[in-house]
Amino acid sequence: MITQSTAREPVPLEADGPPFYLPVGNEVEVFEAAWRRGLPLMLKGPTGCGKTRLVEHMASRLGRPLFTVSCHEDMTASDLLGRFLLSGGDTTWVDGPLTQAARVGGICYLDEVVEARPDAVVAIHSLADHRRELNLERLGGTTIQAAPGFQLVVSYNPGYQSVLKDMKPSTRQRMVAVELGFPTADREREILERETDLRGRPADELIRLGQAVRRLDHPGLREVASTRTLVAAALLVTEGLSFTDAATAAVAGPLSDDPELRNGLIAMIRAFDPGNDPAAEGTSGHAGHQAAQKTTRTTNWIQERA
């Protein structure tokens, strides 16, 4: 039985530089240092915090081809390493993405490695330790030495169960871990501006909504307002959707199976909708006109009392 390879096409080098990535900490430095030393890297962080974007950015910046594998439960070691295909009367070996990356000295990115079964993950062991080699048992026991420039990068969402316990301790120890969180409000605002054309109040309120949702100590809720979903909501607003409709589709949408949570989120979204601003509509007696003029997010919006 032959299944489709899960590898994506290698990301081509952009004419106008690497894809935009705004660092939240020292991850770019750590990534680059690890790459120079051939150390495998583990990116930890919630879904939608920019792990994939970081890898794409680094691959382009380091001038290495990127082989991305989105891990899933049905993925086998063959999906990573390669397999024989029947063509005519012959059998032809086709490299998997991990093998390809090792041969050409690319970066192999196993996205959401926890989703993969342990027996598939075993395939990376010999590449992740000091040997940096790949043993292709099915290809008559061929051993491939990873070319210079090769790096293994895995991403892992600590919200899920950990497959790391299934890695050999020696492998785990050889992984350099980088922990990524959601960016601060200021940085996230900057990302929103780079990724979308949304400006002004709606952009401010999306950022605030994200910050507020992340204050909730509720399993699974923090991630619904990830940087990724905020970017998506912003894109929908620039397409002409109302704030509430856009954010509902991008943020509350994935929760459709949980009506109470969803309604609560929608009520939250409404609270942040600048279209519902009484000052803007001039319907509230208390919110004055100064408020309506307040268009930019200012940290110190009131002077300290003398």
Binding site: S162, L261, A267, A271, P278
Partner: protein, 565 residues
């Protein structure tokens, strides 16, 4: 007040917003008038239109007070002695201060609404500064009405306010109050003050007692727990008469409030044998994690090989396996590999078939451990709870090794509004050190609303096990007892819950480590064993569990357990 078209959130819908801003679980409840909070609940008066913009702002303002730490008892005490208007001035200054501090997470519309007032009075730098200005002589404007109220007296007005240990009846009253949805407004202050104090460990010794009773987090457990809770709940007398006959219907797990905390869970009916009817939406089951303790040591997990062998024969079904030496179908991948191997001159065994083999994969088990106060009793030098816990550990380990889908939860209750499921291992999680640590961090506490616990177990098996055979193993002393839940009522409800499980094809068995008088009332002989250890269980496991699965299958096309060869 202005209603905005298309924005008419009910109170419940605003809870998420309030919780997000407060930075902790907050609930909204109807009050008589005005909007105010006791630190855990925000009361919204009947005179406030739920959907109005200003109602939302008021709720946000109260949540902001909680987030900003404005409500601590020493300042409340000071305000309660101050001249009229001080509390509201303090409220206004604190909202303005917090609004500036938290501007990154507060709706812009709310900030804009606060802004004119804040600009007029000026923003303080700390709660103490706000307090000084609020009670001071310099004239200071009160905030607009929509900021809501601050009621320091109500927060302090409750028995035990000076921090002495509460009497049993006070605790019972507080628990009762916490589980009663309808409450006379008059009691709000007293009740909420009580709860507020109870749930704050720093405030008084009362807090730690309550926390212990509620099984909330504590740094290291174990001290002085034995039987602490059992005597405090008075007999519950006033039962609401049930009207129509209802069917047992569980809502899907969603967000519930269990014991005042927002969490995942579900609400279940309860069987009232007296009137032969279900009480609809009667019990709230919420999911929590066991308290994290500094070093819950996990003993080396020895597995009982006999238990594994016996369990491996329960729930066997036929499943296709790849790369088998014999079979009816060809396994193409294996065939290609084999051909390649032959061509390369390294032929091995031609394992090129797909074949059906008996596998234990199809078994899903939920191990439900009774972690209620009654199990903390000592018996011949051993705490019953520890024996039960070790048994649950052994069973989980064995099933996990067998590759069965297994989840392990402990439970206890504090009245019908607060049945707690404590996660040790979900179906998805590995039975690793983290999960085992959670099991060993458990300390028995609280009471035993067994029916609701069984209904929730059934529900989890139904929705999450994903296996054909499903089994609920209750490890406990089998004595159902809770506030308003005892005697025949409790026994009948529990039996009913077991019947419900069976009719939704979930097998149900009870295991006890000691012979207790109550368990025979709940479990029939076929479905219950007294087994102190996994070794004793092994001797009997196949019959016990096989029978349970067989009974659960009745009336349904479910595989029968094959006896082992």
């Amino acid at each position: 007040m202005t209603l905005h078209p298309g924005s008419n959130p009910s109170l419940a819908e605003l809870e998420l917003l309030a919780s997000a801003i407060a930075g902790r679980g907050v609930t909204l409840e109807p009050g008589r008038h005005g909007v105010y909070t006791d630190g855990a609940v925000i009361y919204v008066g009947a005179d406030v239109t739920a959907g109005a913009e200003q109602c939302r702002h008021a709720v946000v303002a109260q949540a902001v007070l909680i987030a900003a730490g404005s409500l601590d008892s020493s300042r409340m005490r000071r305000l309660s002695r101050s001249r009229p208007g001080s509390a509201r001035r303090y409220l206004g200054l604190e909202v303005a201060r917090a609004c500036q501090e938290m501007d990154e997470a507060l709706p812009g519309a709310f900030q804009a609404a606060v802004h004119p007032y804040a600009a007029r009075v000026g923003v303080t730098g700390s709660p103490d500064e706000s307090l000084l200005r609020a009670v001071g002589r310099t004239p200071l404007e009160e905030p607009p009405a929509w900021f809501g109220d601050l009621r320091p007296v109500a927060m302090l007005r409750s028995p035990g306010a000076d921090g002495e240990t509460p009497s049993d009846s006070e605790l019972a009253k507080a628990i009762r109050a916490a589980t009663e949805p309808e409450q006379d407004d008059e009691d709000d202050g007293e009740r909420s003050g009580m709860l507020e104090k109870l749930s704050s460990p720093l405030r008084s010794p009362l807090g730690s007692v309550f926390q212990r009773m509620m099984g909330a987090r504590r740094s290291s457990g174990g001290e002085g727990l034995s039987g602490s809770g059992v005597s405090v709940v008075e007999q519950h007398t006033g039962r609401a008469p049930s009207t129509a006959r209802q069917t047992a219907q569980a809502l899907p797990p969603s967000v519930v409030r269990a014991g005042g905390q927002l969490t995942r869970g579900a609400i279940y009916p309860e069987w009232d044998a007296g009137s032969s009817a279900y009480r609809p939406r009667w019990c709230t089951v919420g999911h929590f994690d066991p308290p994290s303790s500094d070093d819950p040591s996990v003993p080396p997990s020895g597995v009982d090989p006999r238990l594994i062998r016996e369990l491996s024969r329960v729930g066997l079904t036929w499943r296709p396996h790849d790369a088998e030496p014999l079979g009816d179908e060809l396994d193409l991948t294996a065939l290609v590999d084999y051909r390649v191997a032959v061509a390369a001159g390294t032929s091995g065994e031609p394992r090129i078939y797909r074949a059906e083999r008996r596998t234990a994969q199809e078994l899903g088990v939920l191990v439900l451990l009774d972690a209620t106060g009654s199990t903390s009793e000592q018996h011949e030098g051993h705490a019953i709870f520890e024996e039960q816990r070790d048994l649950a550990h052994g069973i989980t380990t064995a099933l996990d090794q067998l590759g069965a889908r297994v989840a392990t939860y402990a439970f206890y209750s504090r009245g019908r509004g607060n049945v707690r499921y404590l996660r040790c291992k979900t179906f998805e999680e590995r039975w690793g050190v983290t999960a085992q640590r959670r099991l060993f961090a458990l300390r028995p506490t609280g009471f035993t609303r067994l029916g609701a616990a069984i209904r929730h177990g059934t529900h989890l098996l139904d929705t999450q096990a994903g296996s054909q055979h499903r089994l609920l193993i209750v490890v406990g002393d089998g004595v159902p007892y809770d506030d308003g839940y005892e005697g025949r009522y409790a026994v009948e409800d529990t039996r009913r819950a077991i019947d419900e499980a069976r009719s939704s094809a979930v097998g149900c068995v009870g295991l006890s480590t000691r012979r207790t008088p109550g368990s025979s009332e709940i479990w029939d002989r076929e479905a219950h064993r007294v087994t102190a250890t996994t070794a004793e269980l092994a001797a009997d496991a196949r019959v016990l569990l096989g029978t349970a699965l067989g009974r659960a299958g009745r009336g349904r096309a479910v595989h029968h357990v094959r006896s082992a060869s």
